[in-house]
């Protein structure tokens, strides 16, 4: 893409000491920094935020090279361990099924609710 910029006279005093051949690069970097600071951090996508908006946002982010994966933040005690991000497969774990008591069963357990009533306001 080729862009021609007409720099207003009032800005020329900021640019007069910059070599002409370096000016395009400096302007481009300033533009990139502005775009980077304008790209919102990953946020909850609202229901009104449609697919087209998301695609546009991603195109902008990709074109500036500003999309990066989140760096893992380690708990202090584990800082000596490897910080590499893993693309994990499903690991083996055994979920323990806690059967919800059937409503038809005795409500004797309501007497045990005393310990939990401070969970309720």
């Amino acid at each position: 893409m080729i862009v021609t910029v007409d720099i207003p006279d009032e800005f020329s005093r900021y640019l007069e000491f910059i070599p002409e051949d370096e000016l395009p690069c400096i302007l481009l970097n300033a533009l990139k920094e502005k775009i980077d600071s304008s790209i919102p951090k990953p946020r909850l996508v609202q229901e009104q935020f449609n697919l087209q908006d998301l695609v546009s946002l991603l195109n902008i982010a990709q074109s500036t090279g500003s999309v990066t994966a989140a760096e893992p933040v380690l708990v202090k005690e584990e800082s000596n361990e490897s910080a590499e991000k893993t693309q994990s497969k499903i690991i083996n774990f055994t979920p323990v099924q806690q059967v919800v008591q059937d409503i038809d069963e005795s409500d004797d357990d309501l007497d045990d609710m005393d310990d939990f009533m401070d969970l309720m306001k």
């Binding site: 991000k85 979920p95 806690q98 919800v100 059937d102 409503i103 309501l110 969970l119 306001k121």
Partner: protein
């Protein structure tokens, strides 16, 4: 006049509302697809489910009055959406309360029919036999689930909820035969509030040592609740994150659109559950796409929030005894990338993963129901 006590628990979420009466094990769910209808746009017509439209005639607040409907029944009329905002606190959102009143009215009409409400039109009023008449009233003991952040915040959201709902209601069902009217009362004394996610700790009663640490992560549609418990007591800071099921859906929608699939929300939810997408008559396996999005959701959105809860409470994850996943995205736990990614990221391999219900959407309302029964028993004495 007959005064009948009823107890219910209510979990009014971003994607659906769930209500469970104390006299049943059934959890009734309604998609969060509520609407109001102007009087000028209403007329009696045949609809799929006539109980899903009611006219609130009397209520403690003017905003609660009017015609409200849900789902296909409501769409049969010109309507205005009444949905819970994803930006505001639930207990500050008037639409949350309108839906709440609708939920209670649904329970009331069900109970009215079951208790012989229609008999008054055939055998006449006979108060001596305890038959429901037009002045009969249901008195409710209610326990509602609200996000942990609102439950534990500086603002007394529990009190706001109780005060907002308290009062007498008169609700007509104009699409039902004889246009029955139900009356019910909600009082502050018989209304309780519990934290979403946190209330689930009650399910571990009898198993918890007082020093046991339990991590509860409840991924809803609009918010994700993250809380730590020591024994039965809530430990320190809790987090109500705005990254939740709707985030996963949005990212998955984009990922699948890149593969050429354009899907509605309900189709996406089906894809998450089945890991297959329909391509004409064929079913295409998209397990890798779904699981990548679920893993990325944990890494890019929830990781920091979960870490905050652990670090601020100075908890080493290796000392956590129980991990309790809740919410629709956590269903199918033995083959769930969200659960496995949380375990792996936070080194929870030694913790027991507690699955509290066949459908993890129902954990909060089922746990809250036990509290509702306690309130109901108290009211009966």
């Amino acid at each position: 006049m007959l005064m009948m006590l009823r107890g219910v628990s209510v979990d009014n979420g971003g994607s659906e509302t769930r209500i469970q009466a104390c006299d049943t094990s059934e959890v009734k769910c309604m998609d969060n697809d509520f609407m109001s209808i102007r009087e000028s746009d209403f007329r009696v017509k045949d609809v799929e489910d006539p109980t899903k439209l009611c006219r609130v005639l009397e209520a403690p607040r003017e905003e609660f009055k009017g015609i409200f409907a849900q789902g296909d029944t409501g769409r049969a009329f010109v309507n205005q959406s009444v949905i819970i905002s994803s930006q505001d606190a639930k207990t500050s959102d008037i639409n949350y309360y309108k839906q709440f009143v609708f939920d209670i009215a649904q329970d009331a009409i069900t109970a009215w029919v079951k208790n012989g409400g229609y008999s008054q039109y055939t055998v006449g009023n006979d108060i001596s036999k305890g038959v429901i008449d037009e002045d009969s009233m249901f008195k409710y003991a209610i326990v509602a689930c609200i996000p942990i952040e609102e439950f534990n915040g500086v603002k007394d959201c529990a009190k706001i909820l109780k005060q907002t709902l308290a009062g007498d209601y008169k609700v007509e069902f104009p699409l039902l035969e004889n246009k029955p009217v139900v009356r019910f009362n909600i009082s502050e004394e018989l209304t309780g509030v519990v934290p979403e996610g946190g209330v689930a700790i009650r399910m571990l009663k009898g198993e918890l040592d007082k020093e046991d640490l339990s991590l509860v992560i409840d991924i809803g549609h609009v918010t994700t609740e993250i809380a730590l418990f020591r024994g039965t007591g809530l430990l320190g800071k809790v987090v109500s994150s705005r990254f939740a099921g709707s985030t996963i859906l949005a990212n998955l929608r984009l990922a699948l659109s890149n593969e050429g699939y354009v899907l509605t929300d309900s189709q996406l939810e089906n894809v998450i559950a089945t890991k297959h997408v329909k391509n004409g008559k064929q079913l295409v396996d998209v397990t890798e796409i779904v699981e990548t999005q679920e893993r990325d959701f944990i890494h890019n959105y929830l990781y920091k929030d979960i870490l905050d809860v652990l670090n601020i409470n100075k908890v080493n994850t290796k000392n956590i005894q129980n991990f309790i996943p809740i919410g629709a995205p956590m269903n199918n736990p033995s083959n769930n990338a969200l659960i496995s990614e949380i375990i792996q990221c936070f080194k929870l391999e030694n913790a027991e993963v507690k699955i509290l219900a066949d459908d993890l959407r129902h954990v909060n309302v089922m746990c809250a129901n036990k509290f509702a029964k306690v309130l109901l028993n108290k009211a009966r004495k």
